[in-house]
């Protein structure tokens, strides 16, 4: 599964993997803002942003082509809006939409692929993201695999009882029913997980093992990683 691969990548060894997640998160935010607000001269600026990301991917020793392919997962979504924009007569904006969404997805992928989830969540928590949201994210990540496995079992069970080619309406009804059952099972599982947590003394507050220490190398990294996209952003404006 997609998130299993990213999880394995995040536990590799590199200078970027060792950086404090707060530095990486803030650098990502600066990068995303720079990309999103680049309106003019996007072609050279976009090329510069892409070069930065490629350099970072190589620096982090991530598989380049695999990472580039995985970031393209956002394209089907943005392609719909890009087509609508083309139909509306704004081809340039459609190109911007595709380019910016791909660069943003690639940047997020680099962060997730170089930061194990517990450290990422800890970093977000220390940056002020509500704990409740982070707990939801953690459980979603952990149980996505289990729930998708359950869905797969249900699909096989349904297929094993399908003797003739069913009408589309009947298949739709069966899928809707299966979805409801999956929801009910997920709810029951959530209750069981909560029970298991309470049984081990959980009182509403997660205490994590990993301690974060922001070092001078993290500061230097943040400075460089934030300055580069900001410089490209302003260069693109000035050239105009």
């Amino acid at each position: 599964m997609h998130h299993v691969v990213l999880e394995q990548w995040s536990r590799r060894e590199s200078v970027l993997h060792r950086r404090d997640p707060r530095a990486k998160i803030v650098a990502l935010l600066v990068f995303l803002i720079a990309v999103a607000t680049t309106r003019h001269g996007f072609l050279p600026a976009g090329a510069a942003y892409l070069t930065m990301l490629l350099a970072v991917i190589l620096w982090a020793r991530l598989p380049l082509w695999n990472a580039l392919g995985r970031a393209a997962v956002v394209l089907p979504f943005t392609l719909v809006f890009a087509i609508i924009t083309v139909i509306a007569g704004d081809v340039e904006r459609a190109g911007l939409l595709l380019g910016k969404s791909y660069l943003s997805a690639l940047a997020v992928l680099v962060l997730v692929s170089t930061t194990p989830l517990p450290r990422l969540l800890r970093g977000l928590e220390l940056l002020g993201v509500p704990r409740f949201l982070l707990m939801v994210a953690q459980f979603l990540y952990r149980y996505l695999f289990v729930i998708s496995e359950e869905a797969q079992h249900m699909r096989v069970a349904a297929a094993s009882r399908r003797t003739a080619k069913a009408a589309r309406a009947a298949r739709f009804r069966a899928a809707a029913g299966a979805l409801a059952v999956l929801f009910a099972r997920s709810y029951a599982r959530a209750e069981a997980i909560h029970r298991a947590m309470v049984a081990r003394g959980f009182q509403g507050r997660f205490r994590l093992l990993s301690m974060l220490r922001f070092q001078w190398a993290d500061g230097l990294f943040l400075l460089a990683a934030a300055a580069a996209p900001a410089a490209v952003r302003f260069a693109a404006e000035v050239r105009l």
Partner: protein, 242 residues
């Protein structure tokens, strides 16, 4: 006279829809004992054990290590009783094995170093030291069960409760689990349908029927008295088919 680790008197429990689940259960567990809870699905076994560490609350009294289970004593009671659930996936919710096993000790208020030390010791005890940094979904069913048990052992409980521990395990996994549990010094309660497993480990069995304790004795005795033997059931089934 020996003091029981667990003493339950007149325990009644109804679900929210009014369905009675426990109808006056009396039970005792003594130090060093391993007791098997046998009985049909829906007879109240799991509901009963959920009362022992306060996950459910009914009428009657539940005393654990001399403490009556109530809101004030729950944190201490939950350190004394370790509950291993049927589906290990529900119990392993943290991103890595070490974080999961250290979850209980951290909740007990131990420092990070102490929690890690406890977690590592518990993982060694169950033979899972090599899995420290693995994600739970990379483990086999047997490994998950061992890690789930380590998560409980790390809290240093005096009593272990295992709900259907052999579910999802293949025969070698079941044997390995039986050997592991046999080595652990804690008093144990096994909720199980697996008669062979119960016979291997338990020195006493109680039989649940309709939310009550219908009988008590050795596992062999209970199995014979209530026709709870698979071989016996199979022979009856074959006779009726003839």
């Amino acid at each position: 006279m020996r003091q029981p680790l667990i003493e339950v008197r007149g325990l009644h429990f109804h679900y929210e829809d009014g369905t009675p689940a426990l109808n006056g259960v009396d039970f005792q567990l003594f130090p060093g004992e391993t007791v098997a809870l046998l009985g049909a699905n829906g007879s109240g076994k799991t509901t009963f054990v959920l009362h022992l560490n306060g996950l459910l609350t009914g009428e009657g009294s539940v005393t654990v290590c001399g403490m009556r289970v109530d809101k004030d004593t729950l944190p201490k009671v939950r350190q004394k009783i370790g509950l291993v659930f049927q589906d290990s996936d529900n119990q392993l919710f943290m991103p890595t094995v070490i974080e999961d096993v250290a979850f209980g000790p951290l909740n007990m208020g131990l420092s990070r170093d102490q929690a890690v030390a406890r977690a590592r010791a518990a993982l060694e005890q169950v033979g899972m030291s090599a899995a420290v940094n693995k994600a739970p979904y990379h483990l086999s069913a047997g490994e998950k069960k061992r890690v789930a048990i380590a998560g409980i052992l790390a809290m240093d409980p005096e009593i272990l409760i295992l709900d259907e521990p052999t579910t999802f395990l293949d025969p070698p996994g079941q044997r390995a689990l039986a050997e592991l549990l046999d080595r652990l010094p804690q008093a144990k309660i096994l909720v199980t349908h697996d008669v062979e497993f119960a016979m291997t480990l338990a020195n006493r069995a109680v039989f649940f029927a309709n939310g009550k304790l219908a009988g008590e004795g050795t596992v062999t005795d209970i199995v014979q008295r209530f026709g709870w033997n698979q071989a016996h059931w199979r022979s009856q089934s074959c006779t009726s088919e003839r």
